[in-house]
Amino acid sequence: MLTASIVLLLIMLCLSVGTLIAFAWAASEGQFRNPDEAAYSIFDPDEPVGIPTDPNLRSGDDERSI
C-alpha cells in the first residue's frame, strides 16, 4: 500500500512539475502578455472577427462561402 501511494504520489508530482515547467515556459515566451491579442488569434482575414462562420447567421452583407 505504501509503495503504491509513493508511486502515485511520484506520478502526480511528475505531472505537477511538468505543468510547472510548461507554465514557466509560457511565461518566459510572453504567452501571458497582451491576452486580448490572443483572444483574436482564432480569426483570419477570410474569417474575420464580427463575421459568423455559418453564413446564414450573418447580417446579410457578406457573400463569402466556405
Binding site: A4, F23, Y40, F43, P45, D46, V49, L57
Partner: protein, 494 residues
C-alpha cells in the same frame, strides 16, 4: 472583457483574404482522411456502445433478458459499453477533433496524413480487439481498464503517431500566441498516454498488491474524464463558440486561469471515490480539497462561455453546432459543480454506491463531452468534405432525443440514487427491498438510453448520407431553420 487589439481594426486586403482562404482549404484537405476516419469510426462505436448499453440497462430491471448467451451477460456487456464509448467513441472522436483544431489554430496542414490515417485504423483495431476480448470473457475486471492486455499495443502505437503529429503541429505553428484551445488540446494529448499507460502498467501488466489497486484505479478513471475528455471538450468549445458567432471570448484572462488551475488541481481529484475506504485520511482529504478547488476553473469557464454568448442566444435557434456546444458547455458547469459538492464527505456518504454516481458520470461524459463533440462534428465535417449536411430533419432527430434522453436519464437516476442512498444509510430496510424500489428508476433509464440511441442512429444516418451523396455541395450550411438576412425574420421550427 476582451478589447480589440489596435491592429485588428485595419481591414485585410483582398490578397490577404484569398491567401488565408487558400491556406484554410489546404489545412482542411490535409486533415480530410485522418480526421475523417477518426470521426467516422467513432460514430460506429457510438452506435454499437449505445446498443450494448440498452442491453445492459434492460438487464438491471429484467435480469432474464439475453441471459442465455454468455457473451451477452451483464458482467460482459456493461464493461463492453463503458469501453466502447470511452475509447471507441469519445477518445476516437476526441483525437479527430483535437487534431483538426490544432491544425487550424497552428495554421499548419497535417503533413503525414497517410501515417495518421494508418494510426486511426490501428486505434480502431485496438478497440475492436478490446471489445471482442471483453465480450468473450477476457476482461481485466478493472473499471475503465477492462480491455485485455493484448489490445494495449494497438492503442500505444496508434497514440504515438497521434502525439507525434500533435507535437509537429505545435512545433511548426505560426508565430504568435498559443490560443487557449491549443493549450487544452495539447495538454490532453500529453496527459492521456501518461495516465493510461501508467495505470495499465501498475494494474494490468505488473499489478501492485490488491489493496493498493483502487487508489490507482480511481486516480486513472477520474482523470480520464477530467484530463482527457474535458480538455478536448473545453478546447473545442473555446474555439467553436467564438468562431461561429464571430466574437472573441469574453475574457482571455479568465480562460488562462481556468486552464492552469485545471492543470494544477485536477490530477489530485480521483481519491474522493474512496471516501469511507481503508485508505490514509490525508490521501482522501487532499483529494477532497483539490475537488473543491475545481470551483475556480469551472466558474471561469462558465463566466466566459455565458458572457461570450450574450447577444447571440438567438443563434441557438439556427446553428446545430452552436446549440450542441452551448448545451455541452452548460452541462460542464453543472457536472463540475456537482462533482465538487459530491466530493464533500457528508454528501458522498449518501450518494456513493448508488445510481446517483452513474447519473453524474453520464452528465459529464454525455451531456458535456459528447454534446460538445456532436457540435464539433457538425462544424468540422462540412469543411473536411466540402459538402453540407444533407438533412436538417435528421439533425433535429439527433438533437432532441439526445437532449431529452440525457435530461431524463440524469433526473431519474439522481433522484432514485439519493433515495437509494438514504435508505441504505438508514439500515432498517432489507437490502433487496431497496433494490426492488430502484426498479422504476431503472426502467426510465432504459427509456432515456433508447432516446439517446435514436439520436445516435440519426447522426450516423446523416453522416453516411453525407458521405455517399456527392450532390450535397452547397455553400449554405444546413441550419435548424432558415434565416432571412435582410429583415432578421426567421422561419423557426426547431
Amino acid at each position: 472583457m476582451t478589447n480589440a487589439p489596435s491592429d485588428s481594426a485595419s481591414r485585410p486586403t483582398k490578397s490577404d483574404t484569398e491567401e488565408s482562404l487558400r491556406r484554410r482549404l489546404e489545412i482542411d484537405r490535409a486533415a480530410r482522411w485522418p480526421v475523417g476516419i477518426f470521426i467516422g469510426s467513432s460514430l460506429v462505436w457510438l452506435v454499437l456502445g449505445s446498443l450494448i448499453a440498452i442491453a445492459a440497462s434492460i438487464k438491471l430491471h429484467d435480469p432474464e433478458f439475453l441471459a442465455d448467451h454468455p457473451w451477452l451477460t451483464f458482467g460482459r456487456v456493461r464493461p463492453a459499453h463503458l469501453n466502447a464509448v470511452a475509447y471507441g467513441w469519445l477518445s476516437t472522436c476526441g483525437i479527430g477533433i483535437g487534431l483538426w483544431i490544432l491544425s487550424r489554430l497552428c495554421r499548419v496542414p497535417i503533413e503525414d496524413h497517410r501515417s495518421l490515417a494508418l494510426a486511426a485504423v490501428l486505434w480502431n483495431m485496438g478497440n475492436a480487439v478490446g471489445i471482442w476480448g471483453i465480450l468473450r470473457g477476457d476482461s481485466t475486471a478493472i473499471e475503465w481498464l477492462e480491455y485485455p492486455v493484448y489490445a494495449a499495443p494497438f492503442l500505444l502505437v496508434s497514440f504515438a503517431f497521434v502525439l507525434f503529429t500533435a507535437i509537429n503541429l505545435i512545433r511548426k505553428r505560426a508565430p504568435g500566441h498559443i490560443y487557449i484551445s491549443q493549450w487544452y488540446i495539447m495538454a490532453a494529448f500529453f496527459w492521456f498516454p501518461a495516465l493510461y499507460f501508467t495505470a495499465h502498467g501498475l494494474l494490468v501488466l505488473a499489478p501492485v498488491q490488491a489493496p493498493a489497486q483502487p487508489p490507482i484505479n480511481w486516480w486513472y478513471a477520474h482523470n480520464a474524464l477530467g484530463l482527457w475528455f474535458t480538455p478536448i471538450g473545453l478546447g473545442a468549445a473555446y474555439y467553436l463558440i467564438p468562431k461561429i458567432i464571430g466574437k472573441p471570448i469574453h475574457s482571455y484572462y479568465l480562460s488562462i486561469i481556468g486552464f492552469w488551475t485545471l492543470a494544477f488541481f485536477y490530477a489530485w481529484n480521483g481519491m474522493h471515490h474512496l471516501i469511507g475506504g481503508p485508505y490514509p485520511a490525508w490521501l482522501i482529504t487532499a483529494s477532497v480539497v483539490a475537488s473543491v478547488m475545481m470551483f475556480i476553473p469551472v466558474i471561469t469557464v462558465a463566466i466566459n462561455h455565458h458572457f461570450t454568448m450574450v447577444g447571440h442566444f438567438r443563434d441557438l435557434l439556427y446553428s446545430p453546432t452552436l446549440r450542441f456546444v452551448v448545451f455541452g458547455a452548460m452541462a460542464y458547469t453543472v457536472v463540475s459543480l456537482q462533482g465538487s459538492l459530491t466530493a464533500i464527505r457528508e454528501i458522498n456518504h449518501v450518494t456513493h454506491f448508488t445510481h446517483y454516481t452513474v447519473a453524474h458520470a453520464h452528465l459529464g461524459a454525455y451531456a458535456f463531452a459528447s454534446m460538445v463533440f456532436f457540435g464539433a462534428i457538425y462544424y468540422i465535417m462540412p469543411r473536411l468534405l466540402e459538402r453540407e449536411w444533407p438533412s436538417r430533419w435528421l439533425i433535429r432527430l439527433h438533437f432532441w432525443p439526445s437532449a431529452i434522453g440525457i435530461a431524463l436519464y440524469f433526473v431519474v437516476l439522481s433522484w432514485g440514487g439519493i433515495l437509494q442512498g438514504l435508505e441504505l444509510n438508514r439500515g432498517t430496510t432489507p437490502f433487496l427491498d431497496i433494490v426492488a424500489r430502484t426498479i422504476p428508476y431503472l426502467e426510465w433509464r432504459s427509456v432515456a438510453g433508447t432516446l439517446m440511441t435514436i439520436g445516435h442512429l440519426a447522426l450516423l444516418a446523416s453522416f453516411i448520407w453525407m458521405l455517399v451523396d456527392r450532390r450535397q455541395s452547397g455553400a449554405q450550411p444546413t441550419l435548424f431553420a432558415e434565416r432571412k438576412p435582410s429583415t432578421g425574420a426567421a422561419s423557426v421550427s426547431s
